[in-house]
Symmetry: C2
Subunit: 182 residues, 2 copies
């Protein structure tokens, strides 16, 4: 059987970067921003001081300590039974995140082999059958079928098939789109 | 004009990893291996103690301090005038090399934007029009046209179009294969 490949983004797809950012901002500046404040706008704009918020992305440990998105671990394990899963993160924008994201994956997704990890800048050179991502800047240019994973900043966008959580990803791949031999 | 894309490997293509490895081995173990000893065999097998040689790859600084392959800088600048150049390195096998390779590129190839850097494991998900690489394990599965860059370990292989140096790369792209509008 020729296995289909799925590229899976990290931030906002398997990494709960919204919660992480809110917590880091509160810890650094004493202001707790509500998750709902991120709806429909770029994440940094949800904070009282967007420059200060962005500066947190360059702090050692920011990416290493982020929590996992609910359901991602179980769903990835399930998908790996029938698909080649590649984790594809535009990590190159934050060089200090490279090793942190690698170590984070090793801790939380030990079933992902190093051969299946891609840290890049522009995702348009990545060719997999599917891309699950929260950003149009990635989905618009991907070579496979784009799937929009819900995040605050992409609320309201109807351009691509949307999944709101990992339960819906599994439903999409296992009941709607793909038939497997028994 | 629709620009073609070229993926360029790092080790043995723009990084002189053979010389670097020989120097590091001599410094660590006091034995200088001749470059010719690497001809036609895996690099680590050229050293008296292959396990010791491989251990050097995990030492901090190994990738950061490596010299540039002759002619690569000038050739890449020239190619960038007409092609989209992506640096694609299977760096994920050596996690400590991730930041070192990023910093090395910033120092020696400042014209390469972070959006055009890819650190991966398996290169089969990378889709560019061309791949310049020294390893069959990458060229055999690439989605574009494979170009074999000469390294000691690939001596004698005739499977793909071979280039022996960056002068030959420029000749290939600028006189043999591609016509540009005047």
């Amino acid at each position: 059987m020729n296995r289909k490949s799925i590229a899976v983004d990290m931030d906002n797809v398997i990494v709960d970067i919204e919660v992480n950012w809110i917590n880091a901002y509160e810890k650094a500046f004493g202001v707790k921003v509500a998750r709902e404040a991120m709806l429909g706008i770029p994440e940094d704009q949800a904070f009282p001081d967007p420059d200060a918020a962005r500066s947190l992305l360059y702090k050692p440990g920011f990416f290493r300590d982020a929590p996992v998105i609910a359901g991602a671990q179980e769903a990835i394990l399930k998908l790996q039974e029938h698909f080649d899963i590649f984790i594809v993160s535009a990590a190159m924008e934050f060089p200090n995140s490279l090793l942190e994201k690698h170590d984070w994956l090793n801790e939380h997704f030990p079933s992902i082999h190093w051969k299946n990890i891609v840290f890049c800048g522009d995702k348009r050179v990545i060719n997999t059958d599917y891309l699950i991502d929260d950003h149009l800047k990635n989905l618009d240019y991907c070579q496979g079928t784009p799937i929009l994973f819900s995040a605050g900043h992409n609320a309201g966008i109807e351009k691509y098939r949307r999944v709101n959580n990992w339960e819906e990803v599994l439903k999409l791949f296992y009941t709607e789109m793909v038939k497997f031999p028994s």
